[in-house]
């Protein structure tokens, strides 16, 4: 068991443990904060995969913006500070069975495929992944069109969210 395998297993335990707590905690604010822990674990995973830019962008976008949005929404939609009553539906065993079935199916598929047992090759020495990513996002024969479409999507979401949440419909 090499060192990076140990680190991966610890990171995976962190992610899966906090994800389980997200979907089972009683208090919603705790669920949002456990989501922050899970997202941080995913950022560590990106760093292990040598996608450093994605790790930092994950912290900035998911933890710095989306998780804070969740916490604000939880605080703005509650009439008292306590969570009363059951938080899961009464037939929760059905989604649990469904989740287990999907997980078993996927794991079965993954283990059966011998090509997935490979380990990663070293990134070749001259390749600067950060510079390549930047070039890929703006070069016309790479991914500039999805990039621009994503920015239009974000603009639409910004205008839509401000209009819907503003509440003063005249």
């Amino acid at each position: 068991m090499t060192a990076d395998q140990i680190i991966f297993l610890l990171c995976a335990a962190l992610i899966l443990g906090s994800a389980l707590l997200v979907v089972t905690t009683r208090k919603l604010i705790h669920a949002a904060l456990w989501l922050v822990v899970a997202l941080f674990g995913v950022a560590i995973l990106y760093a292990i995969l040598q996608a450093g830019f994605l790790a930092v962008v994950q912290v900035v976008v998911y933890i710095g913006a989306i998780a804070i949005l969740f916490i604000f929404a939880v605080m703005l939609t509650r009439r008292e500070m306590l969570d009363k009553g059951a938080q899961t539906r009464s037939n929760w065993w059905l989604p649990a069975l469904l989740g287990l079935a999907i997980l078993t199916g996927l794991v079965f598929l993954i283990i059966r495929q011998p090509a997935f047992g490979r380990t990663a090759a070293q990134i070749p020495v001259g390749v600067d992944t950060l510079r390549n990513l930047g070039n890929a996002l703006v070069s016309p024969d790479a991914f500039v069109l999805p990039f621009e479409l994503a920015s239009v999507l974000l603009l639409a979401a910004l205008v839509g969210a401000v209009y819907i949440a503003s509440g003063n419909k005249k």
Binding site: A51, L76, N132, P146, G160, A165
Partner: protein, 103 residues
């Protein structure tokens, strides 16, 4: 890097099924959105793992992951704005009670 690719894929599959359980079994609309976020992160782990293990010199995997970030952020913003607006009218965020448009 002695971690086989299958470990990452199994982790992503487990995270996806936990998120699915969260979406289908929680009553509060915001808790449902938390489950959706977990599923989107599972997809991203898959994308980045395949990028690293198959073709680290080409950037398609990372670009796709960045687009997924943008889409997730847009969806959370609009979704939470809708939930807050519904809360103002109907004073509830329990998904079962928002049933005016049911048959």
């Amino acid at each position: 890097m002695s971690i086989p690719l299958s470990w990452y894929l199994i982790l992503a599959a487990a995270l996806f099924s936990i998120g699915l359980f969260g979406v289908l079994s929680r009553k509060n609309a915001i808790a449902i959105l938390l489950g959706v976020e977990l599923m989107l992160n599972a997809v991203n782990i898959n994308l980045v793992a395949f990028w690293r293990y198959l073709e680290p010199a080409k950037m398609a995997g990372q670009v796709f992951a960045i687009i997924v970030f943008a889409v997730a952020a847009a969806e959370v913003a609009v979704g939470l704005a809708l939930i807050i607006s519904v809360y103002r009218r109907r004073k509830t965020v329990v998904a079962d009670e928002i049933n005016l448009m049911k048959w």
